[in-house]
């Protein structure tokens, strides 16, 4: 392990501490007054500060220090954590998070932001009202204190050997001190040892020592834990009086100590008794200087020490002994780790990914094996076949279990959202409360990583456009404080994330007008409410008349929709005027496997995600209706549904296939409505392992990914929404189409 790895650990830990901090502050905000909550919050900041100090991240240390000081006031009940105080603290937590991010990725936080908050925090700590504008004059020195070790012991160890005390002394001015040192019993009870302190002192220079044994009682009166000895020392050293005193720093309170420069007058030497014990005997290895006494660059020094230690091991110990020692050390560590581990372990994500990949291969292999056995075992009763069935089940279970390893609660992402709500609400002057539900719902880590961004955008949108201003809300008879509810739950093998606001709902008139202005629909289009609502997902649609700072960053809901789709998810909106809107996202639990329907199209094998399919049917000739030049509809239970020839869309063939010869897959696509996808035949249903096409090739419109089938063949996984979109005339770009791409 080197410093960079530890730094990596530090930043990971920061993330955890920041989450802890925020959830603690939010609990306090909800009226929780449990001292343990306050302690946890304090500890989080304290821990960040401690680690940051170790890496010399001074900006971070300085801010954390001020924050910590204020939190300490809350902890010691000097400061009541009311709403105003918590508002400052939550903001500080946000800035702290930014400072951490900046420390990791570079960049800097605007100084004005930190400075303002530092003033507010200090004012709180000093028991003042929040400063209106002017900073309190009594501000404590902030940045300086923690960055430097203020109570530096002043130790300046000098290289020293036992056979030549202070070799460089001829150049340096020497002082002689007389030291009187009389420990009390407390000194020993705290684990200090007078002899060790004297040894330390002896390293400063030439030393004469006399032991004062006057108080030593007779043996029968002796208390084994009492302190009877005192020492008078005369030492000649280049060190200052402070440095000499510093040797006794740890013992300061538990001894009588006098240090004074020796009187200049010669001949008045202390009556020196020979030292009653050999100081050097205290050292295990008297011949070697203590490791690392130089103040050289840390890393270099440690490297040297490693070398020295290694050399020593080679020299002194047999390989077996070294191995045994190492084993013992590992065992000790393992024991310590085991007891501390509790219910979780930390595993490198790479390892889990590797395992998942391997299990993916195993699934494919097992499928191949099954297939070839079935082909060679016509009656299907051999014992191999039975065993294979069991293997199939086991493989499936292993796969599920491995997937579960990577499952993570959505909590961290949800927590981040509360900050965004706070910030944006502050910026636009709205009062908004974020309520979260189902934070512990678990989903694959890869999915979690990818939903943060679209979710952030939607939250911004909801705050900026969804919730009305407090005045407007009051006028409408609503609570001036708006509520945004973010919830997650599992439903039929997918995760459902709902974002609900109690704002004004979608202004359909305005949306429609905008769509007409932007040439998205024709002015005389007759659209259902649902279709109008879904227009906000159309590319190039933005309802904000002026691009605002918050949600108008050049991306609209179409980008959100696309990123959700890229995850194999769907998004829809329902809105009630005056009551608010609800966005519903349905996402797969994992991006690694997919339940698919294997179909044949123009001789090619394709996989259609099962989640997209509503039903399959064999069209009858009477149900097919031509419509326009080359559009066809199929009537299903008295409603008409456009027919999409997958083979043509993907340029597998140029002629339209006869629907009666094939199978129609009724799919539900985003943007409303159903479509019937025409394929030639259905081969079966199968769980397939998703292999990214983009990682190995390039993005192909209409194709989401690829997979390997049981017989070892590669099959493409259909991007249903893209195909449906293409059928609407938003053609797959020809130069990028499958045929052109090869």
């Amino acid at each position: 392990m080197d410093m960079n790895e530890i730094k990596e650990i530090f930043f990971q830990e920061c993330e955890e501490q920041l989450a802890e901090l925020e959830s603690g502050l939010l609990k306090l905000n909800d009226g929780d007054r449990d001292p343990e909550t306050v302690n946890a919050v304090f500890r989080a900041v304290h821990s960040i500060k401690g680690g940051a100090g170790a890496f010399g991240l001074e900006e971070l240390v300085a801010f954390a220090h001020v924050f910590e000081t204020t939190l300490d006031c809350v902890r010691s009940n000097k400061l009541e954590p009311n709403q105003d105080v918590l508002k400052v603290m939550l903001k500080s937590a946000d800035v702290l998070a930014d400072l951490v991010t900046c420390s990791r990725d570079g960049g800097s936080v605007e100084e004005s932001r930190t400075r303002g908050l530092v003033k507010e925090l200090e004012a709180l700590a000093n028991g003042e009202a929040l400063p209106a504008a002017e900073a309190p004059k009594a501000a404590k020195p902030v940045a300086a204190a923690p960055a430097k070790p203020t109570d530096d012991s002043g130790f300046q160890p000098i290289p020293f050997t036992f056979d030549g005390f202070g070799e460089e002394e001829n150049v340096v001015e020497q002082f002689t001190y007389e030291v009187t040192f009389k420990p009390t019993r407390e000194l020993y009870s705290k684990g200090n040892e007078a002899a060790l302190l004297l040894r330390d002192l002896s390293r400063f220079g030439e030393m004469g020592i006399a032991c004062d044994m006057d108080q030593l009682p007779a043996l029968e009166n002796m208390d084994p834990e009492a302190s009877y000895f005192g020492w008078k020392i005369s030492i000649t050293t280049p060190k200052s009086e402070e440095e000499v005193r510093a040797v006794f720093e740890f013992a300061e309170w538990d001894c009588e100590l006098e240090v004074k420069p020796a009187e200049a007058s010669e001949g008045e030497e202390l009556p020196m008794i020979p030292v009653p014990f050999d100081l050097s005997a205290l050292d295990d290895e008297p011949a070697e200087p203590t490791p690392q006494t130089e103040t050289a660059a840390t890393e270099e020094a440690s490297a040297n020490v490693v070398k020295a230690v290694n050399a020593a091991v080679e020299k002194k110990e047999s390989a077996a002994a070294a191995a045994a020692a190492a084993a013992a050390a590992t065992q000790n560590n393992a024991a310590a780790a085991a007891s501390s581990a509790g219910q979780t372990i930390r595993v490198d994500l790479d390892r889990v990914d590797r395992l998942i990949n391997l299990v993916g291969e195993l699934v494919i292999n097992q499928a191949m094996l099954s297939q070839s056995v079935i082909e060679n075992d016509n009656n299907g009763v051999s014992s191999i076949n039975m065993g294979l069935e069991e293997l199939q089940q086991l493989t499936r279970e292993i796969q599920d279990s491995v997937m579960a390893i990577r499952a993570q609660p959505v909590k961290p992402v949800f927590q981040r959202m509360s900050r965004i709500v706070r910030e944006v609400a502050d910026m636009v002057g709205k009062q908004i409360r974020l309520v979260t539900e189902g934070e512990n719902t678990e989903v694959d880590k890869t999915v979690i990583d990818k939903i943060a961004e679209p979710l952030t955008h939607m939250i911004r949108n909801a705050v900026d456009h969804g919730i009305e201003s407090p005045e407007k809300r009051e006028a409408a008879g609503k609570d001036p404080e708006g509520t945004i509810k973010l919830s997650a739950k599992h439903r039929s093998g997918r995760i459902l994330i709902e974002l609900q606001d109690d704002g004004g709902g979608i202004n359909r008139e305005r949306v429609k007008q905008k769509a007409i202005d932007n040439d998205l629909i024709s002015p005389d289009a007759n659209l259902s409410d649902e279709e109008i609502d879904n227009l906000i997902f159309a590319p190039g649609f933005s309802t904000a008349d002026k691009i605002s700072d918050i949600s108008g960053r050049g991306v609209g809901m179409d980008v959100v929709k696309r990123s959700i789709q890229a995850l194999g998810g769907r998004i829809s909106i329902s809105s009630r005027p005056g009551l608010g809107s609800t966005f519903t996202m349905s996402l797969p639990l994992t991006l690694a496997v997919l339940d698919g329907m294997v179909v044949t199209v123009a001789g090619q094998t394709l996989v259609v995600p099962l989640t997209a399919i509503v039903e399959t049917l064999q069209p009858e000739a009477s149900a097919i209706h031509s419509f326009g030049a080359n559009q066809r509809l199929i009537s299903i239970r008295n409603s008409f549904c456009p027919l999409v020839d997958v083979g043509r869309i993907l340029n597998f063939r140029t002629n339209q296939a006869n629907p009666v010869d094939g199978v129609a897959l009724l799919v539900e696509s985003e943007g409303g409505g159903q479509r019937a996808l025409m394929v030639d035949a259905i081969q079966g249903q199968r769980q397939v392992v998703i292999k990214s096409l983009e990682a190995n090739y390039t993005h192909v419109p209409g194709i989401a990914a690829a997979t390997i089938l049981g017989d070892g063949r590669v099959a493409l996984i259909l991007d249903v929404d893209a195909v449906v979109g293409a059928s609407r005339g938003q053609s797959l770009k020809p130069e990028m189409s499958l045929a052109a791409a090869g």
Binding site: M1, D2, M3, E5, I6, I9, F10, Q12, E13, A40, F42, H46, S47, K49, G50, G53, A54, G56, A145, P146, P149, T150, D151, S153, F155, P157, S189, K190, G191, N192, E193, L196, L197, D200, E249, F250, L282, D283, T290, P291, Q292, T293, E294, T295, T298, S302, A303, V305, V306, A308, V309, A312, A325, A329, N332, N333, A335, A336, S339, S340
Partner: protein, 121 residues
């Protein structure tokens, strides 16, 4: 014989830094995450010196030090307090609880080793 150091700190970062520093200096290191675990681990590992943090969940450094000092078997082990608190009050409390000495975070590896050398034979 390698000297054995028990480190008690709730921060993974600091625990790792201690581990690297101490191992490089030829110490054997045993780790604990808080005071409670520290007292558990203490039984059976018999360290030559203990380095502990103050602010920890479950059982803080003060409580931990008191626990060690109450234990007939281990009460003589030198304990160094590792803390960012540099003010006299905290130091004083740690001392009253029975700390042998202290090291201020962020620690300089050389100073850490120095302090350990100062309290161990």
């Amino acid at each position: 014989m390698k000297k054995k150091v028990l480190t008690v700190d709730d921060s993974r970062t600091i625990r790792n830094m201690l581990l690297v520093t101490l191992n490089n200096a030829g110490f054997e290191t045993i780790q604990a995450e808080d005071g409670v675990e520290g007292l558990e681990v203490l039984e059976g590992c018999e360290p030559d010196v203990i380095v502990t943090d103050i602010n920890m969940p479950r059982l803080d450094g003060f409580g931990f030090i008191e626990g060690v000092r109450r234990n007939e078997k281990y009460r003589a082990i030198p304990i160094l307090v590792l803390t960012t608190e540099s003010d006299a009050e905290k130091k004083n409390r740690a001392r009253q609880a029975g700390a042998t000495g202290w090291i201020v975070k962020p620690f300089d590896p050389a100073k850490l080793i120095d302090a350990i050398e100062r309290v161990t034979a």
